[in-house]
């Protein structure tokens, strides 16, 4: 296992009147090369969990082990860990600050003390993975569109060459094309470079399209987990905690309910189209 979280509990402001238990005995395993979706209603503990994976938060109790290294131990140097697990926050473009796109992406690798040739290799590798054209590297990140700025921020994390990339709502606030683009690049990073991806999102369609497996958090506990199709097969349980299933999956359920015997574990428009057309060809009216 690349990541093993055992019995993780996190309490904010322990001992104060504002004490909140954000995670309660969470177990989580992530295998090398996996694409995991992490979903849950607002306040379910997703971001708190994500911040434990690269040591930004320390467990109140329980263990977080990354590549065999227990990172929950006190005073563990976190530098090597932060290289292994790259965390992309919500609205990461707010953290851009350098004068050029190149310098912004190069900031992390330079801090690692790498020589300039290696820094350059990494900047080119990372920016091409997120689809930023060469000529953009010399521009100011602040002249770019929202979607492009976000890709610069993701490239900055990729340039650290992490084994695991944790993305918290990478498409929030982007227009539909920006959303498709960024998710397409994330899929490519996973497929071509074998980077392990953990996608934290409120958008059920995006998770359905990309993730192989889903972990659902609710009130700081693991509420459901399993292969994507299985999890989205549990519409009532998901709706009960304020989540939902993708619109095409919901449509298939409705068609079944009205007597058209289509498969309901469909996740994308393309799959739904094929399934409905197949049934139609068999001419079985509802």
């Amino acid at each position: 296992m690349l990541i093993e979280v055992t019995e993780l509990t996190h309490v904010y402001l322990r001992g104060s009147p504002l004490e909140v238990t954000a995670l309660r005995g969470v177990d989580l395993q992530v295998a090398e090369g996996e694409f995991l979706g992490l979903i849950g209603p607002t306040g379910s503990g997703k971001s708190t969990l994500a911040q434990h994976l690269n040591g930004l938060l320390r467990p109140t109790s329980g263990r977080v082990v990354v590549e065999g290294e227990d990172i929950s131990a006190k005073r563990k140097p976190l530098r090597s860990l932060r290289q292994k697990v790259g965390l992309v926050f919500q609205y990461p473009e707010h953290q851009l600050f350098e004068e050029t796109v190149y310098d912004d992406v190069a900031f992390g690798p330079r801090n690692l003390g790498l020589d300039e040739a290696e820094v350059k290799r990494r900047v080119h590798w990372a920016t091409s993975l997120v689809g930023l054209p060469e000529e953009m590297l010399s521009r100011s990140p602040f002249e770019l569109s929202g979607g492009q700025m976000r890709r610069v921020a993701i490239a900055g994390v990729l340039a650290m060459r992490p084994r695991v990339l944790v993305l918290d709502e990478p498409a929030a606030g982007l227009d539909p094309r920006g959303r498709r683009d960024i998710l397409g690049h994330i899929r490519k990073m996973h497929q071509k470079e074998g980077i392990t991806v953990i996608l934290v999102s409120h958008n059920m369609e995006d998770v359905a399209e990309l993730a192989q497996r889903i972990v659902v958090l609710h009130r700081g506990e693991v509420f459901l987990q399993g292969p994507t199709r299985k999890v989205f097969g549990q519409a009532e349980r998901l709706r009960g905690i304020g989540l939902d299933i993708p619109p095409v999956t919901a449509l298939m359920h409705q068609l079944r309910h009205r007597g058209l015997p289509v498969r309901a574990d469909v996740l994308t428009v393309e799959e739904a189209e094929q399934e409905i057309v197949n049934h139609w060809r068999q001419r079985r009216p509802c």
Partner: protein, 277 residues
């Protein structure tokens, strides 16, 4: 219906005369009647938010004019009245709530109007009732969910008793339940109280629930009509980077493969009944 908002040849230039000059609006003409529910869609940078910020005088025209209930936003003596009549709700619920208790937050606006305490209490109560948050009146806002925070923000706007509410991507940071709550609240306001609603969104399925959809591209309104007509223009919407809602796309593909599905489908019920009739 009387006119709520009227916009004539509106241009807006940011950083005019500097190297970074951006022409965000390029001659927008628009009329919104009282009681309409208008969704605005468009890619990032198309001018949606700039247009919205003109509706209550947060931004003023570089050229052209904007009138709200016949009050011109260019005259500073109208601004206070215009801002009372047009309430704004933004994307991030955490940046909009200021008080430590829900009802104090909702009372913030009316208190600033200098209203008598009894009137303030009445308005706060009514606004919280309308958004379904009355039982949370004594809660600290930071303990609410995203959808609940947005509803409190909407209540804060309602307590000003506006004639029009403008929402700029109010659901983009919310979970599915929060999105449903906010959209249901807004539809309720429009349907049962005739509140004029201007709703900016990146979610095409939300726009499909409005009575009228405006499509913006490069500082201009490029399409304006009921959702069924707008979402029938797949090529235009794809070209400007928007696309159509997922079920509209599915229905279109099914139709292309010969299934008896209407040309433009806006929700699951329509698609199910066309396949199961």
């Amino acid at each position: 219906m009387p006119v709520m908002i009227e916009i004539h040849d509106l241009w807006h230039v940011y950083g005019s005369g500097t190297a970074g000059e951006v022409v965000a609006l390029k001659g927008v003409n628009l009329r919104i009647d009282q009681g309409e529910f208008v969704a605005i869609i468009g890619s990032n940078g198309s001018g949606k938010s700039t247009l919205a910020r003109h509706l209550n005088g947060l931004l003023l025209p570089t050229r052209g004019w904007v009138k709200v209930c016949n009050l011109d936003t260019r005259s500073s003596e109208h601004l206070q009245e215009i801002r009372r009549r047009v309430g704004m709700v933004f994307e991030n619920p955490d940046n909009q709530l200021v008080a430590t208790i829900v009802e104090e937050d909702v009372a913030f606006g009316p208190e600033n109007l200098g209203l008598p305490p009894a009137e303030i209490r009445r308005r706060v109560e009514q606004a919280l009732e309308t958004v379904g948050m009355a039982t949370y009146r004594n809660h600290p806002p930071h303990l609410l969910s995203g959808g609940q925070k947005q509803r409190v923000a909407i209540a804060g706007v309602l307590a000003m008793e506006p004639s029009c509410i403008v929402l700029d991507e109010p659901t983009s940071m919310l979970d599915p339940q929060g999105r449903r709550e906010v959209l249901r609240t807004i539809r309720g306001l429009n349907e049962s109280r005739g509140m004029t609603v201007v709703y900016i969104t990146h979610f095409m399925e939300e726009a499909a629930a409005a009575g009228r959809v405006l499509v913006m591209d490069d500082g201009r309104i490029v399409a304006d009509g009921p959702p069924r007509r707008i979402f029938g223009q797949t090529e235009l919407l794809e070209r400007i980077g928007l696309g159509v809602p997922p079920l509209t796309r599915l229905a279109r593909r099914l139709r292309m493969r010969g299934l008896p599905v209407p040309e433009v489908v806006l929700d699951a019920e329509e698609l199910v009944s066309s396949l199961c009739s």
